[in-house]
Symmetry: C2
Subunit: 204 residues, 2 copies
DNA sequence: CACGTTCTGATGCGCTTGCATCGTATCCTG
DNA sequence: CAGGATACGATGCAAGCGCATCAGAACGTG
């Protein structure tokens, strides 16, 4: 047999390079040569990992989708120590909104893919799937909160998940566009959640 | 004198062509040649109207920003027949969210520019300004509603404007990403506004 | 009607792009 | 250690890019 190479690892490295380039100078600045340089490999290596440029971009999107989903899921899995459902909800959403400085890159990339989706059927499919997963995740948390009596039963989990996810995404966009700071966005998010629980419980 | 040309009109035509191209196949598919073809003029004409490609993109963004702002402002100006502030608010936001099929193109373009903003200082500035204007607009409507006693005084106009605008943007993203339909998004938006007014007034 | 000015569309240039090719270096197997 | 399969990276290639150039068409003016 010939020599073995850690393809999966390299694919990830390349995906990271793609994301870095997109975050820094937009999607149309991504060329195979620049990606190779950024990833510290030769152009040939990039071509061996991905048959075409579109394959590469698709992998990068799946890579970052996975990354975001995983972080949110970990947040839930780590709830071995009993945690109030409301805290769980707000923390998860705050993470999904990609507000902290570390996530800014991912937010850029995510948005770039959303903007580019109409041009690629496959990209759109990945985005759709990811959104569906995130929606289910939020709805699950809300139901969990209702089970533990933290959230009022009057809430419709699906509708509220819908609403919260849209709010989180909107805040992400606003922060990226420089319309306001991550801190302000976080406050707005928290305020809405508080408002939601408080009013709904008062209604009973 | 030599012959006269309606430059402003042509610039708009070219801007429309840019937007059509962006909406159809993304920002990186915009080339001077394609724009010229789409606008039905020669490449030379495009180059006479805009010194560089970036100038052209900038103008297209300003063009579409103006378009969106104008529509929202018209909505207010047309309120000669007395209109409930809540209706005004929801209609304005629905328009800003670019949910109807006609606005889908504009939504694509807007998002493409947001995604591309980090790569261009000037684009970012235009986006920032536009968002500030829209924020003020929504806050104004809320204050107006408070003056006409339609909205409770307990609402903080700036905070709620912040929240509503983010929600509208998030819904725009979700519709574009195919996560749900314009109709659903509209319902979610309306539900939040109702919820807001209802709960706030109950609090008194 | 002829002049002078402005506008036009085609062409050229230098460069970059995505992708294909190919000799060489590298590693596992028998 | 020899052999063969694989990965590598440099190079080539056609196409497309943004932008500059320029001869001629188109027009208002004297």
């Amino acid at each position: 047999m010939p020599r073995q190479v850690d393809y999966e690892g390299r694919r990830r490295r390349i995906a990271d390079a793609v994301c870095a380039l997109i975050a820094h100078s937009g999607m149309e600045a991504v060329s195979l040569r620049d990606v190779a340089t950024q990833a510290g490999v030769s152009m040939g290596a990039v071509q061996r990992c991905f048959r075409t440029k579109e394959d590469m971009l698709l992998f990068a999107l799946e890579h970052i989708s996975q990354h975001v989903s995983d972080r949110a899921n970990q947040r839930i899995a780590a709830t071995s120590t009993p945690q109030a459902a409301s805290t769980l909800l707000s923390h998860t959403l705050a993470e999904l909104a990609l507000l902290d400085e570390t996530s800014k890159t991912q937010a850029h990339v995510w948005l770039a893919f959303v903007a580019h989706a109409p041009a690629s059927e496959k990209l759109a499919a990945v985005l759709h799937d990811t959104y569906a997963k995130l929606h289910d995740l939020i709805a699950w948390i809300i139901r969990y909160g209702q089970d533990t009596q933290d959230f009022p039963r009057t809430l419709d989990p699906d509708r509220e998940a819908h609403m919260l996810l849209a709010l989180a995404d909107g805040l992400t966009v606003h922060v990226l566009a420089g319309h306001h700071s991550p801190a302000t966005a976080l406050t707005t998010l928290q305020r809405h959640i508080d408002h939601l629980l408080e009013d709904a419980s008062r209604r009973c």
